[in-house]
Assembly symmetry: C2
Homo-oligomer: 261 residues x 2
């Protein structure tokens, strides 16, 4: 895949169809975001859902109806073309993957960009906390929980978490580091016993791939950006679009600028 | 026991022999300190030991040789009289408890005041994290570990930890809260499996009293101010004085002023 020197240059590559892969590792230091696009008729309700669930749905950008730009995250962003892959949902079911939205875009669509864990994983690695799924070269394991989201209108369902195994000392450091990043899921929501949050088998994630838990390690759970996708699914929206998993919007916002401390 | 309206008024009570009990709960909001007094010949070495072990030995005040005042912690502090009980050590062994040091004080003595966990426990309670031994009305359970302190000259030995049981969610919050207080032991050093730090039986603390661990709770371990006392013991100092356990120096420094964030 082609390489880019800046987020703007990277988005140009994506827009030209020259980058179609997962975005992990692209433009290190810059925030990547999950995408959720829906008709404006549902947007206010979704924003209320996000506000009630800030750990899983931290909205870092939002577009105006029909306008695919998000200048707060980058002057030239075009939500129709700048993500390397999209999933199209109809009546709550994913029906197709598309490389761009040039034909699907509508004048009533609103886009939400939601903070993602790639930002804090970079901070963990810088802080000396290893991240197993990065070591393994796999996708982070994610799990449906039995913890209900805060509901807003038709959006509800249960929370989804991602899991990273580590030692207790590393977990203490990881809690400190990720607490600095409330806009990208913040501190963990749980650690230890998976059953306590309704996870039956830690070795069988609902999304992503298994991460090895070594002796002396504890599973540490963070709120996950799959939560809003699940909410869109369970709400049965007639039409919605998300990014293809792992294929994020790369923004001009530095991770360090999202840190609160 | 008599009550006082300010740390200075409280120290006057202690100085007059009208307060001789444990100091927990006295002058809420103000920092209390552990005390270690030794001949100046050992003070530099002890300070190097403290610097190497800042989580267990956070020095918040230090006196000049022969001078029992510590103006940085309170203009009128007199280390000879302002602590409600003292332990006298000779050749590394505790030989007597005394109510004041008027007869024992020497021109070569140096006093160290070391941050104590009462400060962060107040912050935990304010933050909605219950503290079991306070609920129980008992002394916090403390344990010798197999983790060696950083050594400096004759001071070494293994670290001592205190333990507070709580849920995972409370532990995450407690890590955030206590991270703000590096001068009073800071973030935990471990949680979960006691054996990992050399604790054989969590229900039999080496100091203090057992704290009940309820289903779903995890033991969380902090570096403990007993560590410097252990170092004094193991170094076999010919002469040293500490506060009597639980009988602290109440300072004019507000806990909130020790917080780094």
């Amino acid at each position: 895949m082609a390489q880019a020197s800046s987020p703007s240059a990277f988005r140009q590559l994506v827009r030209a169809g020259r980058f179609t892969a997962q975005t992990a590792g692209q433009c290190p230091g810059f925030t990547q975001g999950n995408l959720a696009i829906m008709p404006s008729a549902y947007a206010d309700e979704f924003l209320r859902f996000a506000r009630r669930n800030p750990k899983s749905c931290p909205v870092i950008g939002m577009s105006e109806p029909g306008d695919p730009s998000v200048p707060e995250l980058g002057q030239d962003i075009d939500l129709r073309t700048d993500i390397p892959g999209y999933c199209v949902f109809r009546d709550g079911r994913m029906v197709e993957e598309v490389p761009h939205l040039r034909e699907l875009w509508r004048e009533d669509l609103v886009g939400f960009v939601i903070g993602c864990s790639l930002s804090f994983e970079e901070a963990l690695l810088e802080g000396g906390v290893p991240v197993r799924h990065i070591e393994q070269g796999t996708t982070v394991p994610m799990y449906d929980t039995d913890r209900p989201n805060g509901a807003a209108g038709r959006f509800g369902g249960n929370g989804v978490v991602s899991m990273r195994p580590m030692s207790a000392a590393q977990a203490i450091r990881a809690i400190q580091i990720t607490s600095r990043f409330p806009a990208t899921h913040g501190a963990p929501v749980h650690f230890g016993d998976p059953a306590e949050i309704g996870i039956a088998d830690i070795d069988r994630p609902d999304y992503g791939e298994r991460a090895e838990i070594r002796p002396g390690e504890i599973p540490v759970f963070w709120a996950c950006g799959v939560t809003p996708q699940q909410a869109i699914r369970s709400a049965g929206l007639p039409f919605a679009i998300t990014h293809k998993p792992g294929h994020m919007l790369v923004t001009d916002v530095r991770n360090s600028h999202l840190a609160v401390l």
